[in-house]
C-alpha cells in the first residue's frame, strides 16, 4: 500500500495499458474525501497534541473474484483512490500479483527511489561545517 500511495495518474494509466483490461469490481465504499486530524508529540516524543487536519481520500472495493481492496491517501483524488483500491486487491490475487508488481509497483518504486537519491544528494551538498573563531587575540 505504501507504493500505491505514491503512484501517480500517469503510472496507473501506463500499468493499465500494459496489463490490458482489469477485472471488474464493485464498491464496498465509494471513493470519498474527508479529513484526518494529524497528531504530533510535544518535543517530538512527549504528550500527543493535534497539529491540524489534512484532506484524505479513501475507497474500498471487491473484485469479481471476491478479493477486497482498500485505499487511503492524502489529498482529494477520487479516481486515484479507486484505482489504488483495485490494484491493492490485485496484488493479493495470485493470477495478477506478479503482473501488477512488474507493470506498476516496480516502476513506481524505482522512480521514488531515484527521486529520494537525488533529493538526498542535493541536501547533502548543503552540509555545513562551522568553525569557531578565537576572538580578540593579537598574533605574536
Amino acid at each position: 500500500m505504501s507504493i500505491l500511495v505514491v503512484a501517480n495518474a500517469t503510472e496507473f494509466a501506463a500499468a493499465e495499458a500494459a496489463l490490458g483490461p482489469l477485472p471488474g469490481f464493485r464498491h464496498l465504499r465509494r471513493p470519498e474525501t474527508g479529513l484526518l486530524m494529524l497528531r504530533g508529540r510535544i518535543g517530538g516524543e512527549g504528550t500527543k497534541f493535534n497539529i491540524g487536519e489534512a484532506t484524505v481520500t479513501r475507497c474500498h472495493i471487491v473484485t469479481e473474484s471476491g478479493t477486497e481492496g482498500a485505499a487511503y491517501h492524502l489529498g482529494r483524488d477520487l479516481g486515484k483512490a479507486e484505482k489504488a483500491a483495485l490494484f491493492e486487491a490485485l496484488t493479493r490475487e495470485p493470477a495478477w500479483r506478479d503482473k501488477v508488481e512488474a507493470a506498476l509497483l516496480a516502476p513506481v518504486k524505482a522512480r521514488v527511489d531515484e527521486e529520494r537519491r537525488t533529493k538526498a544528494s542535493e541536501t547533502a551538498a548543503t552540509r555545513v561545517e562551522f568553525f569557531t573563531m578565537v576572538r580578540g587575540e593579537d598574533p605574536r
Partner: protein, 389 residues
C-alpha cells in the same frame, strides 16, 4: 451590533463581477495555474495550510488564487471549505525523528551527530533583489536535471555517502544533554486523548496540548511579534535554537475497518526545539527548559515563534512571575487566530446604521442637557460678577 439591511443586490452583484475581473488582471498576461502557485509560491502555500490548519497544497494554491494573494482571506476560504468535509479519524503521532531531512541546523552544537544541512534557505543570501541564483536560469535546470553541479565537483566524491547519512535518522539535539539531566524531558506520553479546539471551545487555563494546537494555527505575524517581545524583555526566556529541522514525515492512520495502520503519504513539516535558560525553582533544579514548535510546510519563522511563545506560556507551570503579554495565555490564545481577528475587526464595515442612529440620538440628548446646564451656570455667574463691579 448590526441589523439586516435590504437592497443593494444589483450593486453587490456588480461588485462581485468587478472583483472577478480584478482578480484576473490584464488579459494580455497568461492566467496563473494552480501548479505554478503550488510549486513557485510554496512558502505562501505553506502559510495558508498552516494557519488554515488544513494540509492540502492544491486547495491552498486555489485559495491563494481566489483571494488574489490575500493570505488571510485564503486561510478563511480554506477554513470554510474544511467545514464541508467529514472527519475520518486521527493519525498516529508523526515521528519527526524519522523525518527525511531537507534542512537541519542547531545554534547550540556545531558538531551535532547527523551534522548540519542548510537545505533551501534564505539565510546567508545577500538579499539583492533580482538575484535568484543559477537554478532560475531555465536552460541550466533543463540541461542538468536532478543532481546540481556542485554535487559533482572534484573533492566532494564522498557526497554519495553523505547523502545516505542525511536521510538516516538524526538523533535530537536535546538528547545530547539529556544524559546529564541538564535539559528537561518532554512531558511523558500518556494515553489521554489530546484536547481539540475544533471540537470543544478553548477554555482557560488551557493545557499545553491545546495551547500548541492553537499556536500551530495562530497568525505568523502575531506570534512573531509576541516572540520578539519576549526577546526584548517582556517575559524574557533566554532562548537558543537547539534544533530546527524541515523535511518530510510519513502520515500513518489506523483505519478502523482494516484493523492495522496504513501509510497515507508524506507531509512537509518544520520543527523547532528551542532551549531556554531556567534558574530553577523550589521544585525543579536549574536546567534548560524547552519550547516546541511544529508547523506544516517550510516555515521556520513561524515554528521558532511558536516555540518561543510556547515556552513563555509555560510560566504558570514553571512557577515564573507572569508580567508580560506573551505569558498571558488568555491574551495570546484569544487573539492569535487571524480568521477570528479579521472577522471581528472587519465586521465594522458592515451596516451599523440603526446602532449609529441610536448613538446619535443619545449624543444629541446629552449635548442638549449639557448646553442647558452650561447656560444655567453662566446665567448664575453673570449677576454676581455684575454685583462685584
Amino acid at each position: 451590533m448590526y441589523v439586516a439591511v435590504k437592497g443593494g443586490e444589483k450593486a453587490i452583484a456588480a461588485a462581485h463581477e468587478q472583483l472577478s475581473r480584478a482578480r484576473r488582471g490584464d488579459r494580455a498576461f497568461a492566467e496563473l495555474e494552480l501548479a505554478q502557485i503550488r510549486e513557485q509560491l510554496a512558502l505562501a502555500v505553506a502559510r495558508v495550510m498552516s494557519e488554515a490548519s488544513l494540509y492540502d497544497a492544491e486547495l491552498a494554491a486555489l485559495a491563494i488564487k481566489q483571494s488574489r494573494g490575500d493570505l488571510i482571506e485564503a486561510i478563511f476560504l480554506a477554513r470554510a471549505y474544511r467545514t464541508t468535509l467529514p472527519r475520518f479519524g486521527e493519525s498516529l503521532p508523526i515521528a519527526t525523528e524519522r523525518m527525511t531531512i531537507k534542512r537541519r541546523i542547531s545554534a547550540c552544537f556545531k558538531d551535532m551527530p547527523g551534522g548540519q544541512v542548510l537545505g533551501p534557505t534564505f539565510d546567508y543570501t545577500h538579499r539583492l533583489l533580482g538575484e535568484m541564483g543559477k537554478a532560475a536560469d531555465e536552460e541550466n535546470v533543463a540541461s542538468k536535471p536532478g543532481v546540481p553541479a556542485s554535487c559533482k565537483m572534484p573533492g566532494v566524491a564522498h557526497l554519495e555517502s553523505l547523502a545516505s547519512d542525511a536521510t538516516a535518522s538524526c538523533p535530537r539535539v536535546a538528547k545530547l544533554l539529556g544524559n546529564e539531566a541538564l535539559i528537561e524531558e518532554p512531558p511523558s506520553p500518556s494515553h489521554a486523548r489530546p484536547g481539540d479546539i475544533t471540537r470543544e471551545p478553548l477554555g482557560f487555563p488551557a493545557e499545553r496540548d491545546v495551547r500548541l494546537q492553537s499556536l500551530a494555527r495562530g497568525d505568523e505575524g502575531f506570534l512573531l511579534g509576541l516572540a520578539y517581545s519576549t526577546q526584548r524583555g517582556f517575559g524574557r526566556t533566554h532562548p537558543f535554537a537547539g534544533e530546527i529541522r524541515f523535511g518530510n514525515v510519513e502520515v500513518e492512520f489506523e483505519a478502523p475497518e482494516l484493523g492495522f495502520s496504513v501509510p497515507l503519504g508524506e507531509i512537509e513539516v518544520t520543527e523547532c526545539d528551542m532551549v531556554n535558560q531556567f534558574r530553577g525553582s523550589a521544585n525543579a533544579p536549574p536546567q534548560f527548559t524547552r519550547g516546541y514548535g511544529l508547523v506544516f510546510g517550510q516555515s521556520e519563522r513561524k515554528a521558532m515563534s511558536m516555540a518561543l511563545v510556547d515556552r513563555a506560556l509555560r510560566a504558570r507551570e514553571l512557577g515564573e512571575e507572569i508580567t508580560a503579554p506573551a505569558q498571558d495565555e488568555e491574551f495570546v490564545l484569544s487573539h492569535s487566530d487571524n480568521v477570528q481577528a479579521t472577522g471581528f475587526v472587519e465586521h465594522l464595515k458592515l451596516p451599523h446604521y440603526v446602532d449609529f442612529q441610536a448613538e446619535l440620538f443619545l449624543l444629541r440628548q446629552l449635548r442638549r442637557e449639557w448646553e442647558e446646564r452650561h447656560a444655567a451656570v453662566t446665567a448664575t455667574q453673570q449677576p454676581s460678577r455684575e454685583a462685584a463691579e
